[in-house]
Amino acid sequence: MVTEATADTATADTATADTVPAPWPRPPQPYRSPLVRLIGQARGVRGRLLGAAILGGLASGCAVALMATSAWLIARAAQQPPVLYLMVAVVAVRTFGIGRGVLRYLERLVSHDAAFRVLGRMRERLVAHLAVLAPAGLPLWRRGDLLSRMVDDVDDAGDAFLRGLLPLAGAVLVGGGTVVLAVLILPAAGAALAAGLVVACVVAPLMTARWTARTERQVVRQRAQRARLVNEILDDLPELTVLGALDGRMAELDAIENEHQRVTVSTARAAGLATGLAVLSMGAAVWLAARWGVPAVVDADLDPVLLAVIVLTPLALTDVVQAVGFAASTLRRSAASTGRLFAVLDAQPATAPEPLDPLPLPQDPGGPVIAVRGVCARWPGAQRDALTDVDLVLVPGRRTVLLGESGSGKSTLLAVLLGFLTPTAGTITVDGVDVAELDAEAVRGLFGWCDQRAYLFDSSLAENVRLARSGASDQEVAQALRAVGAGDWLDSLPDGLETRVGEHGQAVSGGERQRVALARAVLADRPVLLADEPAAHLDPATADAVTDLIMRPSTERSVLLVTHRASDAVLGDVVLELVDGRCRPVARRAAPLTTTTP
């Protein structure tokens, strides 16, 4: 029964890991297996884990001991001694019979408690580290699927303990204990049992793993091809049906499936062989115990009663062999997941280290003037600069429109302003003070922010707005919402501010979502508002409404609107255009007035 239950899953994991750009730059450190590092995470929980391993070992040990004592009891009883001689064995048999269930119960409680604790710590460390990295320091930030994948990875890491390491530790305890018992009774039989266990629990799983690894590359490629083709077929179904081309694409799918089948046949054979080998080696241990035990009894080297013990006990190890097979496949899968988690924890932030002794933030009563001078910036791992020699000044009361095609570096400029990315050259100053001298958190406190697609947390509407200023009253939150034209929407919600939004809450339209983001900015009441394509995902009418809200004239606030809509240029006091990371002013009058909306 030694098989790779999840060999295929494991291979898929490795594939995903390959597509993630390597975290950079990584301090040189000796490679340590992610599973070893995971155990390192368990500091403070090690006692519980050890306890769980021992309890688990004792629980499976009970099954083996039950067989051993029963064999002894029956063989001895057949010699018809006074019943009194058997009483200890009778009690032992019953105790072991009860012991397994009870010990397993305790083991489960202790191990789950420990796993919860380790996972809690892991999540906490991840979030703390990600809070530093976010969002520029993590290449996978732009791939939402990988981000949510990380959530599953943490659960997989928990599996590594519950279904991998702990059962393995228990199996080693029981297997070792049984071998010691066998060696004490008849050394040759003990050696045969040890060899049998090594073949069944080490050689056979390794054989499967080796064989799976050989076909892994092909299987991963086929799986990816297949997924892509399935998704294409589903996306294109109307066209394919009308064009009558569905059969052709299904034939392509069949070709991939046939190829996949051809490759997996060898994996199936390897798994079958490994299973057969495990059964054979454990059977051989029993057979050899009988083959060597019988002459030993004849030579009076072995008590005949113990012959029954040494021949029958290995039969009870089937469970242990199977548990090792399961644990091995779980660990293979978890190793990939855990590896990804540590890659995140090893990633270095994309920002320069913060000053140890930051200067106080200048407090100009007129509001901060933020000047960007000759700034160049490059995303980690990128081949070229995203921004080259950019100049920009944000002055209170002035509304700046920054035009640019996608990929021209607009979002990079915002990331630099928000301190998510440190410029490679040039300076950013707040009232003449270089931000490198200031506390990054304090500088960020100058900016309100409205993203392309505002993120709504799985919480109430009120909480989603209130995160901009903790401690704001419900009334202030509602006021902020009304100020951005979300009043009607708010009134239409049966639960009002307590309406749940986000993942599990009510569906929120794109326009409502952007208004929540604006309400956050209003509530936070920061002197500079940065808006990154706030209307990108909205229909023209809503887009205009949202843009107008952002560009409402104000004497004390400065606004930077980043947009690809040339029509927004008329709204700015200053209009700039980014082309290939270079910034140039656009004369207001000359701004293209062609509009994309009817």
Binding site: L86, V93, E124, V127, L234, L237, L243, G445, E503, A524
Partner: protein
């Protein structure tokens, strides 16, 4: 959780075969296990009681070796067979699932099912692999092995047989109880577990936002607090949940202990032979083993069972029988009568719609995104049936019948500059000046035919479709253009490329239209992909052209040229173009505006009434 859905047997022949083979292998391996036990017990009893030596038991040792080898062989065979069938079963189900999705049409796939179907067809079906490869064979074993062992025990030793017979049924009973309890009680646990994971995911995804508002650093502590709370509450639940599995384990091992003690006591009084006693001791745990292993496989199976249920639900979704009528006019017109999709007023609902698409003319349908323009095209393509109302093909039984598929000749197609239609049917009027012409007369109007009664194949042969997705695939541009249009000649394709304003960029490629596209048409821009998709639609010898936002990714100049091409290619075709842009209205013979507030109703006798609606 239902261990095996009998419907699966109907849809996956591989599962049937696997079950039959598994039954055979299970019986054989049960016989091998019993033989091994009897041989071992015999050898031990002779040595322990009668003092037999190696020569006395030599032949039985040889037989034992053979049995062990046979058991290994059976284990190999069942493992390999199970894995191989799992691969073919999943492949078959995936195929059936996609075919069914094609039959069910776009509406079924939209809404809640979108995305879900893609997940189901990939990872969902994959999760059936372990269910088929591991759980099903184990299920067979756990039904058969205990029965066979019990049968042997009854012939060997009645007392032990009774102990096993009394406790064995309790195990599936407790499993059912555990399952029931799991369903009921631990549903709450899983809910809170997913809430926990949800909270974590939420925090991670929203970190940039939290960071801007200075709330990021506090999150680590909040995550810790939530996890700690979760640990405390779930440990309380687990203390009870694990109790039932403890009872399960207890039953299995305690009854073996009872059997052993009972045998021991009878042996002391000479009521039983040692050989029988040992054989029973070896076999009693074997009776419980498959059931206990089934429990440990539960984890791998749970995903598979859930996926099975979903797959079967899709496969069993009823489909209305397709229509059979093929007597369609060469250039059909279409009419919607009170068509409603979904529940009016709810999200995604469309209608009520009453409108007419006149034959041989260009109808442009405008409306904001999400109003149901694409759904309307699906209706017209017959991929979607209305919940209320009818979609009618006008004048189907009229004078003009199709005498086979309308095929453009190369000559006609080349004369694009005189706007000759590539799809001019045998009896459609000569192409010429379209401006202000009357709707095409399709001969004497006969009875209209409900689209639901029309043979889908016959209807599709009339249709061309260019959707929002370009539906291009890896291969040369020419192959993509000729997709589903076998035997089309180069001249027709060239003409279509020119209409779609795609000839310029295609010719500019180093290898022209022999240039290869990547997966999903990668290698060219979105706008170029869309124009190729349009060219493909125009090249088809079809008389109904359904175009979904054909100019969505194009700049104004290209858009104008493309629209011009569509107009020129449209002679003798019924064209429906949906868009949220204003430019396409320039080529329209009729404009229909979809608006959720003002349901479109159109007097049947005045099809052009709606041209007046809207600011144009």
């Amino acid at each position: 959780m239902r261990p095996l859905d009998p419907r699966l047997l109907r849809y996956a022949a591989g599962v049937r075969t696997l079950l039959v083979v598994s039954v055979g292998l299970a019986v054989l391996s049960a016989i091998a296990v019993i033989t091994q036990a009897v041989l071992l017990a015999g050898i031990l009893a002779d040595v322990i009681i009668d003092g037999a030596g190696l020569p006395d038991v030599a032949d039985r040792l040889i037989a034992l070796a053979v049995v062990i080898a046979v058991r290994a062989g059976l284990a190999w065979a069942s493992e390999e067979i199970a894995k191989r069938s799992a691969v073919s079963v999943t492949a078959g189900l995936r195929r059936d699932l996609l075919r069914k999705a094609a039959t069910l049409g776009p509406r079924w796939r939209s809404g809640e099912n979108s995305g879900e179907l893609s997940v189901l067809a990939t990872t969902g079906v994959d999760s059936l692999h372990d269910y088929v490869a591991r759980y099903l064979p184990q299920l067979v074993l756990s039904v058969l092995i205990p029965l066979i062992m019990l049968g042997y025990l009854f012939t060997a030793d009645l007392t032990s047989a009774i102990i096993v017979a009394l406790t064995l049924p309790l195990i599936p009973l407790f499993m059912a109880l555990v399952g029931w309890y799991t369903d009921r009680q631990t549903k709450a646990k899983w809910d809170s577990l997913s809430r926990l994971a949800g909270h974590f995911a939420d925090v991670i995804t929203g970190l940039p936002t939290l960071k801007v508002f200075g709330r990021a650093k506090a999150q680590a502590a909040s995550v810790r607090r939530v996890t700690e709370d979760y640990r405390k509450t779930s440990m309380v639940t687990l203390r009870v949940a694990f109790l039932s599995s403890m009872v399960l384990e207890l039953l299995a091992s305690l009854s073996v202990a009872l059997v052993a003690v009972a045998i021991g006591l009878r042996l002391v009084y000479g009521d039983m032979t040692l050989q029988v006693g040992l054989a029973v001791l070896i076999l009693a745990p074997e009776a419980y083993l498959p059931l206990r292993q089934l429990g440990t496989q539960f984890h791998a199976a749970a995903d598979g069972v859930a996926a099975t249920a979903k797959v079967l639900e899709v496969l069993e979704t009823p489909v209305a029988p397709p229509g059979t009528r093929t007597d369609l006019p060469a250039v059909p017109g279409l009419r919607l009568e009170g068509v409603i999709i979904g529940t009016p007023g709810e999200r995604g609902a469309v209608g009520p719609l009453t409108l007419r698409v006149p034959a041989g003319r260009i109808t442009v349908i405008v409306g904001r995104s999400g109003i149901g323009k694409t759904t309307l095209l699906h209706l017209l393509a017959g991929m979607l049936g209305p919940d209320t109302g009818r979609v009618l093909v006008e004048g189907a039984a009229g004078g003009s019948r199709v005498n086979g598929r309308a095929t453009p000749s190369a000559g006609e197609a080349e004369s694009v500059d005189t706007s000759a239609g590539s799809a001019t049917g045998a009896d459609s009027p000569a192409a010429g000046d379209r401006g202000g012409s009357e709707p095409l007369d399709c001969g004497t109007l006969g009875t209209d035919v409900d689209l639901a009664d029309v043979d889908p194949g016959a209807w599709r042969s009339r249709l061309s479709w260019a959707g929002q997705g370009a539906a291009l695939q890896a291969g040369s541009i020419r192959d993509n253009l000729a997709l589903g249009n076998d035997g089309v000649d180069d001249a027709t394709l060239r003409a279509a490329l020119a209409w779609a304003d795609a000839d310029g960029f295609v010719d500019a490629l180093p290898q022209g239209w022999n240039s290869a596209l990547g997966e999903g048409g990668s290698g060219i821009s979105q706008g170029q992909r869309q124009r190729l998709s349009l060219a493909r639609a125009l090249a088809r010898p079809s008389s109904v052209l359904l175009l979904d936002e054909p100019t969505a990714s194009l700049d104004a100049d290209t858009e104008r040229r493309v629209l011009d091409g569509i107009a020129r290619s449209a002679a003798g075709r019924t064209v429906v173009l949906v868009t949220h842009r204003s430019a396409p209205m320039a080529i329209a013979d009729q404009v229909i505006e979809l608006d959720s507030d003002a349901p479109v109703t159109l007097p049947q006798d005045n099809p052009d009434a709606l041209t007046a609606v809207g600011p144009w």
